[in-house]
Every structure is written in structure tokens, then in C-alpha cells.
């Protein structure tokens, strides 16, 4: 694997310290990191899985429609943020480890640097749960 650009390294450092579930993709849309808060949703720590190609992670635990069917990769906020080059905020569904489908809100934003687009990150808020642990009370 090649050296990650500094902007992804710094983004990972930030996301790894958040208690809000977050995903990080590289400039090709490959999943290069998700934090421990996201791991509680998808069932396994990132370190156990390692980097995943766009198609793999979308299929395994990408967002779903209200019936739990996977949303196509092109329609994901992360993908849109990456390739349209703008911030996206939307409501979606996520099928979690136990098979239940939860409504979530997603904010995705592209990561730009002088060298070009580095990737994108997405942060999730479960709609039904209210504020995140450690967040505003």
C-alpha cells in the first residue's frame, strides 16, 4: 500500500478521536478508515477488516433504503461528495450488525488540497437516538 496523503492522515487522526461514527474514503472511493464509533454499527473494528474497495464496503454495510436494500454506490453521500466535489447532507438508512435498519443523517464532505482531491469523509447521526455520547446535552 502506498503512503497516504497527509490530509487523509490528519482526517483519520481526527475521526479516530470522535465518538460520532465516521467513514473516510480515498480519492478512488475505497474505504480507508472508519472509527470505533462506526465499528459498533458495522460489527467489527476497521483494523480487523483493513482497507476495502468501494464495491465491497458498499455491499457489506453501505446505507440501505427503508426496506434494507443496499443503495447503489453512485447514490451514496460519500460518493457524491467525492465526485461532485461538494458537501452533501442527507437522511438515509443503515442496516446494522443485528440486521435492524436505522434511520440516520449523513454529512459528507470532500477533502481538497493543493495536490487535488484526496478523498472524502462522512459523519453519521442516528436520527432516533438524539445527541451522540459526549455531544451536547
Amino acid at each position: 500500500m502506498s503512503q497516504k496523503p497527509i490530509e487523509l492522515i490528519l482526517a483519520r487522526n481526527l475521526l479516530s478521536s470522535l465518538t460520532t461514527p465516521a467513514f473516510l474514503v480515498d480519492d478512488h472511493g475505497a474505504l480507508v478508515f472508519y472509527n470505533d464509533a462506526a465499528a459498533t454499527l458495522v460489527g467489527r473494528r476497521f483494523e480487523e477488516r483493513g482497507q476495502m474497495a468501494a464495491s465491497d464496503w458498499t455491499e457489506q454495510f453501505g446505507p440501505a433504503d427503508p426496506e434494507g436494500r443496499p443503495v447503489s454506490w453512485e447514490d451514496l453521500p460519500l460518493t457524491k461528495a467525492l465526485f461532485a466535489g461538494r458537501a452533501i447532507h442527507s437522511k438515509m438508512h443503515l442496516k446494522v450488525l443485528d440486521g435492524t435498519v436505522h434511520e440516520i443523517e449523513v454529512s459528507a464532505l470532500p477533502i481538497f488540497a493543493t495536490g487535488g482531491t484526496r478523498g472524502a469523509m462522512a459523519i453519521f447521526w442516528p436520527v432516533e437516538d438524539g445527541p451522540q455520547a459526549g455531544g451536547p446535552k
Binding site: 500500500m1 502506498s2 503512503q3 497516504k4 496523503p5 497527509i6 490530509e7 492522515i9 490528519l10 483519520r12 487522526n13 481526527l14 479516530s16 478521536s17 488540497a113 493543493t114 495536490g115
Partner: protein, 292 residues
């Protein structure tokens, strides 16, 4: 490849009787290739002495700055070749979306901070954004990569004459990362340093000092040693000494560095503290003692 240290101090020039041995000039390293190509890494106040020492016939020079903190550009205005009409100077540095390299450096080389403006320099001077890829200068192959510091900052790797020099003077790879456990591709600067004949690296703080300076953009001793061991460099030169560190302090610091280095399996002859005017000759099969 010859490497000569003209300034190894971090942050601010620190002249005085207590810093006379290691030197008080800020970052500047001269790299002379076997074919005579001259590269100057950073233009801290150390560049002044080098400009005086450079033969007048060394008309073409490349100054490669890691970033635009004052301790890395302050000597530019006192670089004698810049005041000779026959000089051709190319200044390389990090790109910024905010302004060109020329305009950003001109903020320093202009009134009221300076009595001269860039356009008034009699030499021929060009400013080039460093591509974050690889490029050639003479027989040198250069690579730049952004590294963790404060503001846009590059580290460099220069490969020539069958050896390689990694220069990362301002660097805090340990921030938010585990230098011991993280995979190499997630460690800032790893690829630049990997297996280099010589790594010149930030080591501004003791471990105790670092605890109070996390996020300031510099490294503590243990992190520098761990970074160098993990990247498997052949030699390590500890650089960017804190202005508060006197010669006596640095002597003791070197003792701690040697202990930490040995604990990590390093060969003591491969570890040094950067000292002003020190020259190191690198060759294909680097002999750690082959220096003068």
C-alpha cells in the same frame, strides 16, 4: 553526496556563548552532488554564512524550502549570491491556494520588514511550486511530500550518487498517531525517510518538554528515534534544536538519545546531533564513520 550543516537551530536564531558549539543559526543544509550540483535545503539564518563561503563561480543554486516559517526563510535576504547579477537562483517551496510562492516570500522581502524588494534583487531569481511528486535537478532526483507540522509543510527526499538524503526538519508525525503500531502508509513522512542513507529530522524537544508541546508541530526525542528506527534509515541526524537548549544541555540530551537509540536496536555510530559546519559525506555503501 556531501551534506553540510549551516544552521541546525529551530524557531529563532540563538547566538551566544551557551550555543557556540552546536550553533545558533536556523535551518540551512547544503547538499553538493558529485557533479557539482548545489542544492540548499531551507534558507534560515545559516544560509548567510554559506553564501559568504560559496565560491563566486557557484552561480547557479537551488534553494528548496520546506515551508515559510521565518526560521526557514530569514536568511534569504542575507544570501550573498542573491546580490550578484551573474547568479541564477531558483527557490522551490510548497504551493498554496492563497498566493504564489513568490508573493508569499515577498511578504518578508518587502517593506517594512526589508530594505529591498524581490524585484530589486540583481540576481536572476525564479520561484517554483514543488510538485508533490518527483522531479530532477541536475543529477538529483527529488521527491516532496506534505508532512504534519503547522501550515503547509513539505519534507524532501533527495536521491543522487547512489545514496539518499531525507530532510524533514519540522515534523510531528506522532500527533494522533502511534509511531510504533500504525501501518507505515499512515505515518506522515514514512515514505520520504524509508531506508534513507541519512535522515535529518526534527528533534526539538525532550520527552518531558514534548508533553507540554503536543500539536506545536515538532517532535520529542522518543518519537524521532522511533520514527527513524521504523523507517530503517542508515543514519539519523537530530535537527531543529530548541532555542532554549544550551550546548551543555544538548550534550546531556545526546546521552539520552544514545540510550534510547540503543534500546531500539540502533547502532550508536549512526546517531548524531546536528552541529553547525559539520560535513557528512554519503556514499553508496555508507560508512557511518566516513565523515569529516
Amino acid at each position: 553526496m556531501k551534506v553540510k550543516i549551516w544552521g541546525a537551530r529551530g524557531s529563532v536564531p540563538s547566538p551566544g556563548p551557551e550555543t557556540v558549539r552546536y550553533g545558533g543559526n536556523t535551518s540551512c543544509v547544503q547538499v553538493t552532488l558529485d557533479d557539482g550540483t548545489l542544492l540548499i535545503l531551507d534558507a534560515g539564518t545559516g544560509i548567510r554564512g554559506m553564501g559568504i563561503a560559496l565560491a563566486a563561480e557557484a552561480a547557479r543554486v537551488h534553494i528548496i524550502v520546506t515551508h515559510l516559517h521565518l526560521d526557514h526563510i530569514q536568511g534569504l535576504m542575507f544570501f550573498a549570491p542573491a546580490f550578484r547579477s551573474e547568479s541564477e537562483i531558483t527557490i522551490w517551496g510548497p504551493a498554496s491556494p492563497e498566493a504564489s510562492l513568490r508573493d508569499r516570500i515577498a511578504r518578508y522581502i518587502s517593506a517594512p520588514l526589508s530594505p529591498v524588494e524581490v524585484r530589486e534583487l540583481p540576481c536572476e531569481v525564479a520561484f517554483r511550486d514543488c510538485p508533490e511528486t518527483e522531479w530532477e535537478i541536475g543529477t538529483a532526483h527529488l521527491r516532496a511530500a506534505s508532512v504534519t507540522h503547522r501550515g503547509p509543510t513539505l519534507g524532501y527526499r533527495i536521491t543522487a550518487d547512489d545514496c539518499s538524503l531525507a530532510y524533514i526538519p519540522d515534523h510531528e508525525p506522532a500527533i494522533g498517531a502511534s509511531l510504533e503500531n500504525d501501518e507505515p502508509d499512515w505515518i506522515s513522512g514514512f515514505d520520504l525517510a524509508r531506508g534513507a542513507s541519512l535522515l535529518v529530522h526534527d528533534c526539538q524537544y525532550t520527552d518531558a518538554e514534548y508533553a507540554d508541546h503536543v500539536g506545536w508541530g515538532h517532535s520529542g526525542l522518543s518519537d524521532t528515534l522511533t520514527f527513524a528506527r521504523r523507517t530503517e534509515v542508515e543514519r539519523l541526524l537530530l535537527f531543529h534544536h530548541d532555542p532554549m537548549h544550551s550546548d551543555d544541555f544538548l550534550d546531556t540530551f545526546y546521552g539520552s538519545a544514545l540510550e534510547g537509540w540503543a534500546e531500539r536496536g540502533g547502532d550508536p555510530v549512526a546517531l548524531e546531533l546536528a552541529t553547525e559546519r559539520r560535513e557528512i559525506e554519503l556514499s553508496a555503501a555508507t560508512d557511518p564513520l566516513g565523515s569529516r
